[in-house]
Amino acid sequence: MDQAAISGEIEAIAEAYQSSGAVETDVRLDYPPYRSSILRHPTKAPHQVDPEGIELWAPVFGHQDVDPFEADLTIQHRGEPLGERMRVTGRVTDGDGRPVRHQLVEIWQANAGGRYIHQRDQHPAALDPNFTGMGRCLTDSDGFYRFTTIKPGPYPWRNHHNAWRPAHIHFSLFGSEFTQRLVTQMYFPGDPLFALDPIYQAITDRAARDRLVATYDHDLTQHEWSLGFRWDVVLTGSHRTPLEEDHAA
């Protein structure tokens, strides 16, 4: 299976989506161009329930759990990691723009050469002794997270012949309710691999896909030190958008 065949599948699904007139905001679970999803996606629609009890709450994480130094992935070893140093920051909110305060954000990523510190990553790119690629922080009282890291490289994977993932940082986020749990990936603007990647393209809606792409922000860039990227996250979960009547009441 080569890239042309996978791209053909991606395009056929995209065309069918566009002609359907529907608007999808989530990633699809059933997306055959991502081969590993074929046997791992539920075939039945999720059962819709009102969240109750424990689901209306989220676990609490605090400074006992997270050391502030864990937000800087470039100081975890003796020397400076290789790669483009950058700051990544953004705001975590619910669908009404209310901040998700003092909540856990975890990230993990490949090094500048596209290699993970993971046994199963056999990509013959160098490991960087000064880079692990894992960080954590708590959002502040206004919902902002802040990380300092290096830009990860693209890397090959075995979905099909000559498959490469666009550069990305994995993000794990908690909201103020269990139902808002989100694990996703942040991408970088203008990546030439976007159109070829079955994981990114599994979000069939262009506007929804774009929400995973960070924005370069020169105001976050620091003189002779690091580039700045901004990426905001919206966790909706079960949160009901208030209706007009709710406000009137």
């Binding site: 905001t25 989530d26 990633v27 699809r28 679970l29 997306y31 991502y34 999803s37 074929i38 046997l39 791992r40 996606h41 539920p42 075939t43 629609a45 999720p46 059962h47 819709q48 329930v49 009102d50 009890g53 424990i54 689901e55 676990p59 609490v60 994480f61 400074h63 006992q64 759990d65 997270v66 619910d94 669908g95 009404d96 723009g97 975890e106 993990w108 993970y116 993971h118 692990t132 690629g133 894992m134 994995h170 269990f178 139902t179 749990r181 694990v183 990936q185 994981i199 599994a202 506007a207 929400r211 995973l212 996250v233 919206v234 966790l235 909706t236 079960s238 009901r240 958008t241 208030p242």
Partner: protein, 176 residues
């Protein structure tokens, strides 16, 4: 008031093992504690084969049914029950948690499922054995057993089938 569009999910991928699981992540209480129960089982794919690269998260109330709001899930002190834990599956697709029996009406374990090949997280509930049918969510009768744990000598067994005839019931909380 503006409504912001949700950020879509993406798969946890194959390489989370060095980043997300952590020491004692699956031990909400030490297994040696007299009131500790084990919640364990397998994650299986559409062929019934084990999923060795899945990650489960557990969120539950204490035995008195109260929701715990205490930090310390990442730095367990052996005494504080936080109600939250995380367990990766092993080579045979098995996971295990050491925890307390949840309270509540009816009691259940809330579980988040992540895996390579799974493009977004899934939510399910593991109700305790013996939960009456009319207390369970209104799912088709033939699928009810997929959200009820079985008892064993040390606690509960709960298998998760991502796909297939006996596919686990997964829940969606989004309100349109």
């Amino acid at each position: 008031m503006t409504t912001l569009a949700p950020t879509p999910g993406q798969t946890v991928g194959p390489f989370f093992g060095f980043a997300l699981p952590y020491d004692a992540g699956s031990e909400l209480v030490p297994p040696t504690r007299p009131d500790a129960v084990r919640l364990h089982g397998r994650v299986l794919d559409g062929h019934g084969d084990p999923v060795p690269d899945a990650l489960l998260e557990l969120w539950q109330p204490g035995p008195d049914g109260r929701v715990v709001q205490r930090q310390g899930s990442f730095a367990r002190d052996s005494y504080t029950f936080t109600g939250w834990g995380r367990a990766a599956t092993d080579r045979t697709g098995r996971y295990r948690f050491s925890t307390l029996r949840p309270g509540g009406t009816p009691p259940y374990f809330a579980i988040t499922v992540l895996a390579r090949g799974l493009l977004d997280r899934l939510f399910t509930r593991a109700y305790l054995p013996g939960t009456l049918d009319d207390r369970l969510p209104d799912v088709p009768a033939e699928r009810r057993h997929t959200i009820v744990a079985e008892a064993d000598d040390r606690g509960f067994v709960f298998d998760i089938r991502l796909q297939g005839e006996d596919e686990t019931v997964f829940f969606s909380y989004t309100q349109d």
